[in-house]
Symmetry: C2
Subunit: 292 residues, 2 copies
């Protein structure tokens, strides 16, 4: 089968054998923002010469702005509920069997909804490995997700705009104008994490990027790492001290930042590779009993 991870900014394809092992992979920059609705054309170009009949896709490709909208499945949900929400997509331009994975939704105690689309598939690869009881999984990114997994099912989750806030402040704010390109600075990152743990509003803490530079407590080359620590530290304040083992699932650089921030907060976490999305798609296809 072919497993596709199609998000807003990137598109990845994995060719899997019957046991779910990756035998080949390709990537492109034709995420939703670049593909401009030419979904069939972009997909066929990417998987050209791979002759598998089955294609299963996860991510924003199944959103309102995607190829076709697949309704969110309501959490709590495990592998089988998510597989049951998958939908087949018929497109005259493609002679393969196309399937889309749904996103997940949940509602908090205040009636505020939350959603994920793509991360549920990453989680599907992890669920069978976690064992019984409660686990917390952090999936860092533009919009970080914190999922509560209970007995192998996703019970509920929360989204944090950490990555997007870092990007807009870096590129468009007064704080960003004071920064210079520089390697990561672990000490400045740790200072940001520490400040985020103190009382007071994030809106106030952010201004310390400016004032600490103004009074030479931080150098321009340290400011981006300090801001990153402040934002990631603020996000991680929301994780209760108790509630089961912690897991971080992300690409290397981002996983490093989150695991070290959690360590600074006295909270050991287990790392998991981010490219589990292919494995998640394989497990979903199998749960749905699709012909591989």
């Amino acid at each position: 089968m072919i497993a596709i991870d199609w998000g807003s900014s990137s598109l990845r394809a994995f060719r899997l054998d019957r046991k779910g092992q990756i035998v080949d992979s390709r990537r492109s920059d034709q995420g939703l923002l670049n593909a401009n609705g030419r979904f069939a054309e972009v997909l066929e170009a990417l998987i050209h010469h791979w002759d598998d009949a089955l294609v299963v896709m996860a991510g924003m490709v199944g959103s309102r702005q995607g190829w076709r909208e697949v309704p969110y499945v309501q959490a709590p949900a495990g592998l089988h509920e998510i597989a049951a929400g998958m939908q087949q997509l018929n497109d005259a331009a493609i002679e393969r069997e196309l399937w889309l994975v749904p996103g997940l939704r949940c509602v908090d105690v205040h009636g505020i909804p939350d959603v994920m689309r793509g991360e549920e598939t990453q989680l599907c690869a992890l669920l069978p490995l976690l064992g019984p009881g409660t686990h917390r999984v952090v999936l860092p990114g533009t919009h970080s997700k914190h999922a509560h997994v209970v007995d192998g099912r996703i019970e509920r989750f929360s989204t944090f705009m950490t990555g997007e806030l870092f990007a807009v402040l870096r590129q468009h704010s007064l704080l960003g104008r004071m920064m210079v390109e520089a390697p990561d600075d672990a000490a400045a990152f740790a200072e940001g994490v520490a400040l985020a743990g103190r009382q007071g509003s994030l809106l106030h803490q952010l201004f310390s990027v400016r004032t600490r530079a103004l009074f030479d407590q931080l150098q321009p080359a340290q400011l981006a790492s300090y801001l990153s620590g402040l934002l990631i530290g603020s996000e991680l304040q929301d994780i209760d001290a108790e509630g089961g083992p912690l897991h971080v699932m992300a690409a290397d650089g981002l996983a490093d930042a989150y695991v070290s921030a959690l360590a600074l907060l006295g909270r050991p976490a287990t790392r998991h590779a981010e490219d589990s999305v292919a494995q998640g798609l394989y497990l979903l296809a199998r749960a749905r009993e699709l012909p591989m």
Copy 2:
């Protein structure tokens, strides 16, 4: 005398009589970002034909990026300490007596510095009116300030990046892309203020702008007001329930938003007009015993 309020984005001039009454005023868009260092030229063009010998200036014009940097005065400070920190500026191109007002700095219990430049002059107009005891003054803006005034002196203060965060999220984030131009929506603003008062990280609460739109709990025309309520509500969480009367000093629209958010939080506040900066400059010139 001539009173000048010269900030990053705007420049205002007031002509005052010997009793401090405004007899004329002018404004220009030649703030620091537009003036490009042509300070003398821009000033003379704006106050042309006003033949007063004394010119007193407040705001970013006295910062490192301004005409000349005037060191911050350390809080606690009142009218007389600020007046003592004023510096005369000699510029060969100007045949008037030029003075610059200093900004204020303070340090919190964690050793993190904070600064203001311009707002101290607005506060100078208010200080004589407040009477003894503790008062809290909120000065909303791009960078909101909360000042603690004790017995007529500015004891300490905190900055909140509320206005700038609203602007960058409105213009550059996923949230802004979902918004449409629309009049203020009081109900959506109140919902944002209410959510900000609940437990949880602002980074998570921000994502509710997206999800509540996705599930039709809010319409696109309501989203900017909702985001504004969320950010202002978050800022105002930092004000203790006790600690003396509350005051809001801002231009009309912004004062409305802050006073109504405080009312929703059960905290009555007194409004003060923002254009007190001319009065503050007059009181500072008098305290410094400058020839008017």
